[in-house]
């Protein structure tokens, strides 16, 4: 191997002094996709006629919520206007709605969110639907958005989701039930418009001095037919106290410290529909026996 001809030092060779600098070639390429800038179609697939109306509805369980809905509409003139509507739904999960007129044009987007009060997932199920007709003859033509309006996360159209009220997680609730009078059982009823997943139940019974062998039981029924029944492992005698505690994923067991606590298992998927009940049924319940107010821990959804 001989010496290379005109060896180039590391870093490249410098042009000799006085020599012209060679011109550089710039390699560029124009975009291949071109966009029209004049006379273009509106950026929305949703043309609103004068006969279309927006049906804004909610089933809500939290007091004091105002549902705000805002939309951007491109008028025939090309002007983009903002419209806003407010629905104050009742807190009893009944259907609340308003029907609003929109101008002719292209609907660009909608956003719905709760204001005034905080609403969590599982509390304010909202639907935005295009309709024809009025309150007495609603004819839905397009559902734009459906889902929970949640504080901090708006329900949107387009690019939002259309979900059912029982999709995903619900709101976690700790409920203090009715403290029944002496001699009466505990009965808790799933409210109208709600679906519960019972996660835990606790209640206490204090037996009167009347001699009897009581057997406290926990029942889940649909108002008529029992779907689940569990009983404490030992009888409750006069002047005794039993705390009945039921939850998921446990084996029946009993603890005794100052009082007796009976732990009972619940069904794995204790989904309860409106009108279903969680109740006690105590064999040999005496007139002076006194159940206390139960505590329930539930996951709750809107159930239309």
């Amino acid at each position: 191997m001989g010496q290379p001809i005109n060896p180039v030092p590391p870093g490249g060779a410098l042009a000799p002094p006085g020599a012209p600098t060679p011109s550089a070639l710039i390699h560029t390429r124009a975009n291949e996709v071109l966009f029209a800038q004049d006379g273009v179609q509106p950026p929305s697939p949703l043309y609103i006629t004068r006969d279309d109306r927006l049906f804004i509805s909610a089933r809500n369980s939290v007091a004091g919520v105002t549902l705000l809905v805002r939309g951007r509409l491109m008028l025939a003139s090309g002007e983009v206007v903002i419209q806003q509507w407010a629905l104050v739904p009742t807190s009893d999960r009944a259907l609340s709605f308003i029907i609003v007129e929109m101008a002719e044009g292209y609907l660009l987007n909608l956003v719905a969110f709760p204001s005034v009060s905080t609403a969590r997932r599982g509390q304010c199920f909202t639907q935005l639907v295009l309709i024809r007709g009025g309150a007495t003859n609603v004819e839905a033509t397009a559902q734009l958005a459906a889902g929970y309006a949640v504080t901090g996360s708006a329900l949107i159209w387009p690019y939002g989701t259309n979900s059912n009220p029982t999709d995903g997680g619900g709101v976690m609730r700790a409920i203090l039930g009715t403290d029944p009078a002496a001699g009466a059982e505990v009965v808790e009823t799933v409210p109208t418009g709600a679906r519960w997943r019972l996660l835990a139940f606790v209640a206490q019974i204090i037996a009167s001095a009347a001699p009897a062998t009581r057997e406290p039981r926990l029942i889940i029924d649909d108002g008529v037919t029992s779907a689940f029944l569990a009983a404490v492992s030992n009888a409750l005698l006069a002047n005794g106290i039993v705390q009945l505690s039921a939850t998921l994923g446990v084996n029946p067991q009993q603890f005794t410290v100052s009082n007796v606590t009976d732990v009972l298992p619940l069904p794995e998927m204790p989904m309860l529909l409106p009108g279903w009940r969680i109740l006690t049924s105590t064999i040999n319940l005496q007139a002076g026996d006194n159940w206390g107010a139960p505590n329930l821990y539930v996951e709750e959804w809107i159930e239309p």
């Binding site: 009742t90 029944p180 059982e185």
Partner: protein, 72 residues
Amino acid sequence: MKFECQACLGVYISPQRDGQAYYHACPPLTDHASGVQTRRADHRDETVVQPDPLLPARIKSEGAGRRALLEA
């Protein structure tokens, strides 16, 4: 607020601590001699019904009513 049902004398709180309303429904009446349970004649059931969506919902059964209790 705390209420006492005038039918069953059960005591309950509505709205609850989380701000949601509580819907009381009376337990059945128990005959302590026989153990037989029957529906109270003045049964109160606050769960709501809305047969017509154009009208406000109402409670199922007013029964004997309720009274507000002073809270400690």
